[in-house]
């Protein structure tokens, strides 16, 4: 027993020095914002391993299928669409439309329920005979008229566009993490072995290293903001704050192995502007902050996030408000206006969706931030779900649980696109402007542009939306009367 302990302690002391060297090296590199390409290599290697795993799973599945192949004759109505043929996705870069994969059914689109149908859309164009048929029937009410609604309803039960956005995105191929599997671990011994190796690397090497780096980053931010708060206001303080802010977030970014690619840096948000981005998780803030200093706005949190928020607020202007204040939209808008009116303030970062969405779509933008009347810098953030799901399902996991999952994932790989600044057109309402910005972000990020309110994660659909549908139906009836 004593022997074992001494061996362990000797082994530990030998390994400790390189480990610490590595740590210092990573932190130093992170703080000057340079990369020597280790992460890029790591990501490439991972992709090769996943590709190998995918092939292995496919051959195993094929062998299984052969034994139980039953001739399933499909004809006529049910269409033959093979979903397996999506291999080309591997060569495609991140951020290409990948909205709805893994579908169960093929929906008929002649009756689509959206919260507020655009006025121009009432006149559906009869493009094929499937639509023409029911259209003729609306000349009068018939017993069969309502079945389009029944069918649409059952289709929504099988598959809908909204609730799936609040669940982790499903992957086409297993990325060798347990939490995304579909019972793949025991496909073959080779794959199980790879998974075991990956497990050891992630939990016994990467995880402790990341925790230490992350703690260092948070500690650095807290200490630097505290010492900055002692300095008098002025340009020196602003400059130091900007440096400290970026360094702190870069170190934390290393702590979750974030491999971030910034595109179009010429449109990086300038001072006293509003920066608007799609929201997947609190990590969004970190991702954007590695490249630019922002003022943040949001609800006051408790716990780990709370410590963080208070630290940040010491050194530079951020807007944190109490939960009770959120109802008072005017107060929030006023504080926003006040912030933007000072040309020395850093750009303010807003996530107008108001809730985290699983990075496959963009939901309704709240109009508040578009009422400020300032220039808007849209930013699209797209994570690569193959290396670890960045989506924070806040109803299921706490912040620390989420961080733990992030740190034991392979990496966080993401693309950030700065988009050209946008201004509100004359005569354009805040809602229209918000929708315009949203569609630009959705297009760049390859996300599905949805009209639904992200708050549906917690609350039920509004009654008025149903009334809108009733109105639509009545219009069709009236026309014929």
């Amino acid at each position: 027993m004593a022997m074992l302990l001494t061996i362990l302690s000797i082994g530990g002391s030998i390994l400790l020095t390189p480990f610490l060297m590595l740590l210092v090296c990573i932190i130093f590199l992170a703080s000057i914002g340079k990369s020597i390409g280790v992460r890029r290599l790591y990501v490439k290697t991972l992709l090769m391993i996943f590709e190998y795993g995918r092939k292995d799973i496919e051959t195993a599945l094929k062998n299984n299928r052969k034994s139980e192949k039953n001739e399933d004759i499909d004809e006529g109505y049910s269409e033959e669409i093979t979903l397996e043929k999506n291999n080309e996705n591997y060569s495609v870069s991140n951020g290409v439309a990948n909205g709805r994969n893994n579908t169960v059914i093929n929906k008929d689109d002649n009756l689509v329920f959206v919260p507020e149908p655009p006025q121009t859309k009432t006149e559906e164009k009869p493009s094929n005979d499937v639509i023409v048929q029911p259209k003729e029937k609306y000349n009068d009410f018939e017993l069969s008229t309502v079945y389009e609604y029944v069918k649409a309803g059952v289709e929504a039960i099988i598959e809908d566009d909204v609730t799936s956005r609040f669940e982790a995105e499903e992957l086409k191929n297993w990325n060798l993490l347990i939490r995304t599997n579909r019972g793949h671990e025991f496909i073959s011994w080779k794959l199980t072995f790879i998974w075991m190796c990956g497990f050891c690397v992630r939990y016994f090497f990467l995880f402790p290293l990341r925790v230490i780096i992350c703690c260092f980053g948070v500690g650095f931010l807290i200490v630097s903001t505290f010492s900055l708060s002692l300095l008098p206001k002025g340009s020196a303080k602003r400059w130091l704050n900007e440096m400290g802010y970026k360094i702190g977030f870069r170190v934390i970014g290393q702590g979750i192995s974030a491999e971030i690619t910034m595109h179009n840096v010429q449109w990086r948000p300038t001072r006293s502007s509003v920066c608007v981005a799609n929201h997947t998780s609190p990590i969004d803030v970190m991702v954007l902050s590695t490249d630019n200093c922002y003022s943040l706005i949001g609800q006051r949190h408790g716990g780990f996030l709370g410590i963080f928020q208070r630290a940040l607020a010491r050194a530079s202007p951020h807007i944190w408000f109490e939960r009770s204040e959120t109802r008072d939209r005017h107060a929030v808008t006023n504080r926003l206006k006040e912030h933007v009116s000072n040309p020395k303030n850093p750009p303010i970062l807003i996530f107008p969706e108001g809730t985290c969405i699983n990075n496959t779509s963009v939901m309704q933008f709240k109009k508040g931030s578009f009422e400020v009347g300032s220039v808007i810098y849209p930013v699209a953030i797209k994570y690569d779900p193959r290396f670890g799901d960045a989506f924070w399902n806040s109803s299921r996991y706490s912040m620390l649980q989420y961080l733990y999952m992030m740190m034991t994932s392979w990496a966080i790989v993401c693309d950030v696109w700065y988009l050209p600044p946008m201004y509100q057109n004359e005569g354009e309402t805040a809602i229209d402007f918000a929708n315009r910005v949203k569609s630009v972000i959705a297009k760049q990020g390859g996300l599905v542009d949805l009209m639904w309110d992200g708050q549906l994660k917690r609350v039920k659909a509004k009654k008025e939306w149903k009334e809108r549908q009733q109105e639509e139906f009545s219009k069709r009836l009236i026309k014929a009367e």
Partner: protein, 190 residues
């Protein structure tokens, strides 16, 4: 997590549901994963509220009637298990010529459609029931008299024995020329 719980579906259960409904094992697993993600309380059954949490269904004027059709079999139970869930969905499988299936025949599809109107489950559609459905569809946008005349006309058009009600037989006749197979079928992918 929907994915993980799909492991809990046993081979026998899949086989049983497959023979009952005609879904392929792959479809059954995918629908099971959907079922579990709708099941917020993780109790293996769905309540009416679980269904109505789907926004697209909640704003469907007939949403509540559709949900109700899942709770038909058994009046005392206000929760649906996966088997019952699949049996209702099986009505919407397209009809295949060489495959006999109890649940997706033309008659079953018509029966499902009939029950949408038959609020009190007496196998007859009365004028009041028709009016109630019309109310659900149009809300307050059409006047009472107009709705009344629509309901009356629909009844007289379909009614053959003059009892001012539509029986299932009369209903089938009225929809004889309607393409029920298409209207009540969903394209399930393999």
């Amino acid at each position: 997590m929907g994915n993980r719980s799909s492991l809990l579906l046993r081979e026998e259960e899949i086989a049983q549901i497959q023979t009952e409904t005609g879904f392929t094992p792959n479809q059954i697993e995918r629908l099971y994963s959907r079922f579990t993600s709708l099941d917020r309380g993780d109790c293996g059954t769905l309540s009416r509220d679980d269904f109505l949490r789907i926004p697209e269904l909640a704003i469907n004027p007939l949403g509540e009637r559709i949900v109700n059709s899942f709770f038909q079999n058994d009046d005392f139970n206000d929760r649906v298990n996966f088997r019952q869930f699949m049996q209702v969905l099986a009505h919407f499988i397209p009809i295949k010529k060489n495959k006999e299936n109890k649940l997706n025949s033309r008659e079953e599809k018509l029966r499902f459609a009939f029950k949408m109107y038959d609020l009190d489950n007496d196998d007859m559609i009365s004028k009041d029931e028709l009016l109630a459905i019309l109310h659900m569809m149009v809300g307050t946008n059409i006047s009472e008299e107009q709705l009344n005349s629509i309901a009356e006309r629909s009844i007289t058009e379909a009614d053959e024995d003059g009892d001012q009600m539509i029986s299932f037989e009369e209903f089938c006749k009225a929809l004889q020329r309607t393409d029920v197979e298409q209207k009540m079928s969903i394209r399930f992918l393999n």
